[in-house]
Symmetry: C2
């Protein structure tokens, strides 16, 4: 089996350790690194503390050829990721005149640069700057002793842009990685244990060289086959799982439940769709806003009603052919909620009750996906 280089992710920021912010950066980077062909072997969230970070950089570099860190590159006194990596490598920080000039130029439009930002122009000799087109913190690319350490800012929009414009391509070239062959079977309406039971050996006995995982997401339970060596085996497993699960599997790989439901509506003659929802805080409207716009169906938008309002009393959008309606009840004592779903107009679907599990925003998103799943099943 070909080697996947190990990668570790360090997310820096005391706010991650007090629960003030959720670390979406780590999930983004983990997904990207996996897709490129690395194996992410660990993620850590660490405080803005010089000694802790220095040790964490040294440990991660000793274990893994690639370390990607985000956060701690800001201008304030508690941003110490540069200092920590410098100490871990035994190098001195000095001010880079080119970085300083770029920073001063950037601030010209807003007036004078705060002196605090000068620390963002500091670097060690081994660090190559990574440009940040939308923020003041440049990143660092450090390739030393056969190991690469990348520092990126913690602001998600800056980090993501620098990743896609610069870092991803450099990593692919530097490590010669190749994306693994991944097949995902996407299901809705069946719990994780029940699905595992039905899949049997398709889950527990993959052939040599194929790894299998199962996990619950808001859009259903996914079964994932990953391989470097036997693409045909992964394809066979995915096809066998789909056949076994029949209509409980809605697709593979990039299949999108919203997109599938919209195509089903379009196929049955709908041209303009509206939504009415209560108790979901607009989760259905949010999902449809993100859905691919490839079905030809025009989305007119939707009405979001407070919890407890009966969606059937709301006026339908006059221009809509079909209106998808969702009422989500409050959860019972066992963490289950009833969802009432129907489709008015042409085509139409009679009201159905289904249950969703979970709490918080997950509960709302699952209710919205449950509505789309009913459309998919009923209008096939």
């Amino acid at each position: 089996m070909t080697h996947f280089p190990a990668a570790e992710i360090l997310s820096v920021g005391s706010e991650l350790l007090t629960g003030e912010t959720v670390d979406t950066n780590a999930a983004f980077l983990a997904g990207e690194l996996t897709r490129l062909g690395f194996e992410v072997t660990g993620v850590r969230q660490l405080p803005d503390d010089l000694a802790t970070l220095r040790d964490a950089f040294a440990e991660a570099r000793s274990r893994s050829p690639l370390v990607v860190a985000t956060g701690g590159l800001g201008p304030t006194h508690d941003d110490v990721s540069r200092e920590a990596l410098a100490e871990a490598l035994g190098e001195q920080l000095t001010r880079d005149p080119a970085l300083e000039a770029a920073l001063r130029e950037r601030f010209r439009a807003y007036g004078n640069m705060p002196e605090a930002n000068l620390k963002q122009a500091m670097r060690i000799p081994s660090a190559q700057p990574i440009p940040n087109p939308i923020g003041s913190a440049p990143g660092w690319w450090v390739d030393l002793d056969g190991r690469v350490t990348v520092l990126l800012p913690g602001v998600p929009s800056e980090m993501r842009r620098m990743w896609s414009e610069e870092v991803a391509a450099r990593l692919t070239a530097r490590f010669g990685v190749q994306p693994p062959h991944v097949r995902v079977v996407k299901t809705f309406g069946v719990g994780e244990s029940a699905l595992a039971e039905r899949l049997g050996s398709l889950l527990t006995e993959p052939p040599h060289g194929v790894r299998v995982g199962i996990y619950a997401r808001d859009d259903g339970v996914n079964v994932r086959y990953t391989t470097r060596t036997d693409a045909a085996a992964a394809d066979r497993l995915a096809a066998a799982a789909c056949e076994l699960l029949e209509s409980d599997a809605y697709g593979t790989d990039g299949a999108d439940l919203a997109d599938i439901a919209l195509h089903a509506l379009a196929r049955r003659g709908a041209r303009r769709l509206a939504t009415v929802e209560s108790g979901t805080a607009g989760a259905l409207a949010a999902l449809l806003s993100d859905a691919p716009q490839e079905s030809g169906l025009m989305l007119l938008g939707g009405l979001v009603l407070p919890a407890g309002t009966d969606a059937s009393t709301a006026p339908a959008a006059p221009a809509a052919d079909a209106t998808l309606c969702v009422d989500l009840d409050a959860p019972d004592g066992h963490g289950r909620s009833r969802v009432h779903v129907w489709l008015d107009g042409r085509p139409s679907v009679q009201a159905r009750w289904v249950r969703v599990h979970g709490s918080g925003p997950q509960r709302l998103r699952r209710a919205a996906y449950a509505a789309l799943d009913i459309v998919r099943r009923e209008l096939r």
Copy 2:
């Protein structure tokens, strides 16, 4: 300064390392542990791998008196958190007849229990079971050699319920922790660097025993003072920061921007509020659904229009006194987006343009908060 016992969080699940799921459990637990009076010194996301987990449990237990782990307690073959902790402690797993009986009872309603679930009845001698009222995986409470390790399931709704019904109180009693004194100053409309510059020594030179942090959230930049020893100093700092920042600070501690805007509307005579938004995927409706319902204002719900639709052409809800309207433009090349905000009816606010930074769902939520901030500022 009183001691805050150190706590580490381990989130178990290979799906966290492939980016398939975002680790919201760690953020929840970090917030809860901090609130109880622990100091969270690190969080790790780890794969479903026996040797990796065994080492991680041993390391974390050697450093910290409390380790809280979530995930890896399911019935499938790759759930190995129990086995890993057993190995780290050198104890044997045996089936607990009481746990087995409870599991079989739980499954009676659904038919026979899948045999795979029997592993959820296994425990080591040191583990006390923690009941799971809404799932099949009991937790473990292991108090050994003066150190506590807690295992909880990874399903967020199960984990949160077990935390609040059982674990939080046991931890408080076991460690005798006391909540720290925390004061948070909440601001909107000023960036992190500019805010740091304005705050000066209120940020960089807190008195002995007071820790200060600054971080950007969707509802603005927060400044947080934490102390165990000098509550009066933290109160003074928070008051001084509020005075210095004038109307850019909208409140302290639990202050909620949506709640403040709703109260401002109610004070100006509005009784029924509707919303119309385009380009935000319903972010404003979602925020208002979560807002405290204490203003007396009735929320009629809102209309969510596709991006590019002009919200001013939408019909107002007939029963509304006031309709808050938000149009969010597409982002420019620098990661900034323009938001157009106005309030129709009584009271009314003339249209304003503001800018928000960021991408993805963050961009949408920030646009919604920007609309509420305009209401707050204009109707004071």
